[in-house]
Amino acid sequence: MLLYIAPVFLPLIGAAIVGLFGRVLGDRPAQIVSCVAMGAAAITAIIVFNNVVMQGEVQQIYLFNWISSGDFQVDWALRIDELSAMMMFTVTIVSFLIHVYSIGYMAHDPNVPRFFSYLSLFTFFMLALVTADNFLQLYFGWEGVGLVSYLLIGFWYKRPAANAAAIKAFVVNRVGDFGFALGILAIYLTFGSISFDTVFAAAPNMVDVDLEFLGGSFDALTVICILLFVGAMGKSAQFLLHTWLPDAMEGPTPVSALIHAATMVTAGVFLVARCSPLFEYAPIALAVVTFVGATTAIFAATIAITQNDIKRVIAYSTCSQLGYMFFACGVSAYSAGMFHLTTHAFFKALLFLGAGSVIHAMSDEQDMRKMGGIWKAIPLTYTLMWIGSLALAGVPFFSGFFSKDIILESAFAAETGLGYYAYAAGIAAAILTALYSWRLIILTFHGKPRADEKVMAHVHESPAIMTVPLILLAVGAIVAGYLLLPMVGSHSDFWGTSILVLPHNNALEGAHHVAFWVKALPTIVAVIGILAAYYLYMTKPQLPAMLAERLRPLYLFSLNKWYFDELYDWMFVRPAKYLGHGLWKQGDGGVIDGIGPDGIAAAATAIARRVVKLQSGYLYHYAFLMLAGVAVIITWYLILG
């Protein structure tokens, strides 16, 4: 039993030690403590993975009763099934590698212990999230990762941009979390429990149950699933709630890699997969998931092709890939989504950390327009970026190829209108993915150096403490596809009972039997994308600029991220500000202070002044008042008594 608890709580112990005693310990011991704790967590997580997934020993470990209030009973228990074991496996390994990488990357930062404490704390919350046994526990982890994400985006709190980005991430996530919280309330209202076992077991009986709200009547499961999905949209930066993710790149690069690519942002996908027993009975909600996922996939890719900040390109790429995962879930191919989640964790962490290595080499420059011509100086990073990009683009035999293909095939095999839409969007996004990936590689590494000489003279390969984790991630990015293929295999019981797919929804099974062109198209378009990038940026470097000039409105639309930030600023931020300012000046200052504290205080002194005047000092006044008092009381009785 201890074995199953260890991976969850070791990071917490590490975080507590480093966070509380970091200053006393010093930087190096703090790094060692958190890395050792994470390493131990990763090893135990691998054992757990072996026991649970390979041997099929699904566990449910009761820790303690958390909340007990009337009918509302919440336990704290760990649910270690195939789904959570898979997540634990991915999270701890990627987190461990990023911890190690951070030793090198954050070497010159004055707040090393704080950084490591946050990283470990994040890992704990993420693990608490994936091992949750009920919705509230999941919510705990969900809010916890949100909190640490906020702390880490604003890690360099002296930068105004970092603070703004942290607040933005928190607020946008709050919108999603509100939906999630409502979803949990709706679940309790409908099922009378928030424990996974009870809720999932009862789901088939709730198909025709309605929720009454504001006089309207809505299908309970659809409402619940859509609300849960709103939460997932926020956390996973899906279309409309995506605006925080690119800004989150203000945080240190290891944070972008761990939280904003490999793990936290995938929590939404995990949530949908975890709740598959609910979503399966809510076809409308599944349609919404498919639509939003597919739209995000293509939408984010169109933005990524014009961004100049190396991290933002990868951030939009993450957004787009999350879209793939969601529409996979939307067509009931949850395991395909989870498969892509896992492979993506490896190659996206690799890309981010590789970008970090580039940034490190370029003396903290992030703008690709000021890079170029450095591939000879940092060949290892260059190679690793290639591997990451090949995996991302879905080039055969790299991990992304397997997972992306199965997703697209599942979408096609769903044989619904939305399924075809998702397939089309996915193919289009695949071309763009290849295009922006190689645009990134070429702009960053090839062509003439565009940085100044001082920077160029300083370009150097990162130390081994950074490159070794990169190499390990690269290995993962190559082989994870083969090794984990059983996840989506035909008639495979990799996931046991942790994922439910109704027979008539089995798109995944259909995916193995689609026409050949459906299977080949993703690869073909990826190659087309790569060639196009090569032609545009290598052979004819002046062409992109010309194109941008020709198609200026389109170019600006993409460069400015479809103007979402401006739109939200106009729609929400400004009105909220005006409203707040108005309420502050007129409402609080004028009405509440005026009538409330200030008014009452003024009234009190005025009353006091008058009351004091009653005390005239004349004896006969006093005597008169006494007699008058008696008279009044007696009159009272004579009339009412």
């Binding site: 205080a601 009190a604 002194t605 009353i607 006091a608 002044r609 009351v611 004091v612 009653l614 005390q615 000092g617 004896l619 006044h621 006093y622 005597a623 008042l625 006494m626 007699l627 008058a628 008092g629 008696v630 009381i633 007696i634 009272w636 009785y637 004579l638 008594g641």
Partner: protein, 487 residues
């Protein structure tokens, strides 16, 4: 055939003892003269201490004597203990003042002793006549001590005002008593209660209006003694004008005795009329709380401020009485005990306000006290926070119990008004703390303040601050006393 048997004197042992001692001490004073003041003071304190022990070891079982006019029970024991402590402590801490401020006359401790005796008789009164005798014995002594500094115009004015208004209230009391006697035919509390309990002759069980009018007059007179609005007018003038030790005594002992009498009368003979007198008490309570809160804001003299504060406190205590339940009465008793401690402590601070040999009484004289006399400032801050009802000071619990009792009886409006006025009241209490801690220091007070005052300050401050740690003796005593009034 008329049987005659001697009354059981043992039941009234503390009173008999104090009466004897006061006469003996008076003789000593007459023969030795003013030199003996200090000795007489200490002897009076010792006599009170002895009476205290007699009260405590005496039988707790209810017993009556003097043909049912005098009763001793757990209620009277609790109240007598409070009164004796209050009286003894004020005597002790007033000693320095008495010596310095040309009050060094032997009558002072003896008068205080006699007033205390009157209070004990009031507390044990079980008959309208006994009630009146005890009340007058107390009041006459108090009129004199209020005017004890004959050369001071303010002191004489205070005494005279108190006397005239007191006489008026005595008149009301007697008038009320005569109404009650006329309509019930009895003066003993038990007999009156029995008559009223049987419907007072009315077929519908409604008491005759004459009894109600009598009740109103008696209540008015008692309200005068506890200085509840609208019978409070004497309080600020007398508090300000009387010598400070006398004011301290006024705030501590007579109020408690009068409140005891109030409880005894309303819950004894008039227990059945609870629905009627409840309305009076609620009115008095609200009026007192509101006036106490607002009028104190305008005060510059600290004794006057405390006078208004005491009016407010009586209002809060009345909240418990309004409930008319054992819990409510327990709340009143706890409130009185805590109030007595706080007010003794506050007056110890005021007695220490002496600059270059002169007493000062203005609030701005406290400016910067935290720098010049940090210990007094700390103690006064504790008392002020406690009076404002801020947890965990004792005053908070006093308010808590009475408000809880009121809420349990469904008197929500009363409780809400109480809470609101205590918020207003917090303003002037905390303003004193602000003056002491944040205003620019002026000249410090004379040092040393004297062992008596500093020890009183230490004990009362300690009790106020740490009451919450071990409140059991007070709560249980009050519980037992309250239970007795609800047979």
């Amino acid at each position: 055939m008329i049987e005659f048997s001697a009354p059981d004197y043992l039941t009234a042992l503390p009173e008999m003892f104090l009466a004897t001692v006061s006469l003996v001490l008076l003789m000593v004073g007459v023969f030795v003269g003013n030199r003996s003041t200090k000795l007489l003071t200490w002897l009076s304190v010792v006599a009170m201490g002895a009476a205290f022990i007699m009260v405590l070891v005496g039988s707790h079982a209810p017993s009556t004597t003097f043909f049912g006019m005098f009763v001793s029970d757990s209620f009277s024991i609790f109240m007598k203990c409070l009164v004796l402590i209050g009286a003894a402590v004020t005597l002790i801490m007033g000693m320095g003042y008495v010596k310095r401020e040309s009050m060094n006359r032997f009558e002072f401790p003896v008068l205080i002793l006699i007033a205390t005796l009157g209070m004990l008789l009031m507390i044990s009164a079980n008959d309208l006549i006994a009630l009146y005798v005890g009340l007058e014995l107390q009041s006459l002594s108090l009129y004199i001590v209020a005017a004890f500094r004959r050369e001071s115009i303010r002191s004489s004015e205070a005494g005279l005002k108190y006397f005239v208004l007191g006489a008026l209230s005595s008149g009301m009391l007697l008038y009320g008593c005569s109404m009650i006697y006329g309509f019930t035919g009895f003066t003993g509390f038990h007999e009156i209660a029995a008559v009223i309990g049987h419907g007072g002759g009315d077929a519908h069980g409604v008491a005759p209006i004459g009894i109600l009018i009598g009740l109103v007059f008696i209540a008015a007179a008692l309200a005068f003694k506890v200085s509840a609005v609208p019978f409070h007018m004497w309080t600020p003038d007398v508090y300000e004008g009387a010598p400070t030790p006398v004011t301290a005594f006024f705030a501590a002992a007579p109020k408690i005795a009068a409140m005891a009498l109030f409880l005894r009368v309303l819950l004894g003979p008039f227990h059945e009329l609870v629905e009627q007198w409840q309305q009076i008490i609620i009115f008095i309570s609200i009026a007192s709380m509101v006036l106490g809160a607002f009028a104190a804001i305008g005060q510059r003299n600290i004794k006057r401020l405390i006078a208004y504060s005491s009016i407010g406190h009586i209002g809060y205590a009345m909240v418990g009485l309004s409930a008319g339940t054992p819990d409510g009465v327990r709340g009143v008793l706890v409130y009185l005990a805590i109030y007595m401690v706080m007010s003794l402590g506050t007056f110890a601070c005021i007695l220490a306000m002496r600059r270059r040999g002169q007493m000062v009484e203005r609030i701005e004289d406290l400016a910067g006290l935290s720098k010049t006399n940090p210990m007094i400032a700390l103690a006064l801050a504790v008392f002020m926070f406690s009076m404002a009802g801020i947890p965990p000071m004792a005053g908070f619990f006093g308010k808590l119990y009475v408000f809880l009792a009121a809420i349990e009886e469904g008197l929500y409006a009363l409780a809400v008004i109480g809470v609101l006025t205590s918020a207003v009241g917090a303003f002037y209490y905390i303003r004193i703390v602000k003056v002491m801690y944040f205003d620019k220091p002026t000249e410090g007070f004379d040092k040393p303040m004297g062992a008596e005052i500093s020890s009183v300050l230490a004990v009362t401050g300690f009790v106020t601050l740490f009451f919450f740690v071990y409140p059991t003796p007070v709560i249980e005593g009050a519980q037992a006393a309250a239970a007795l009034l609800f047979p």
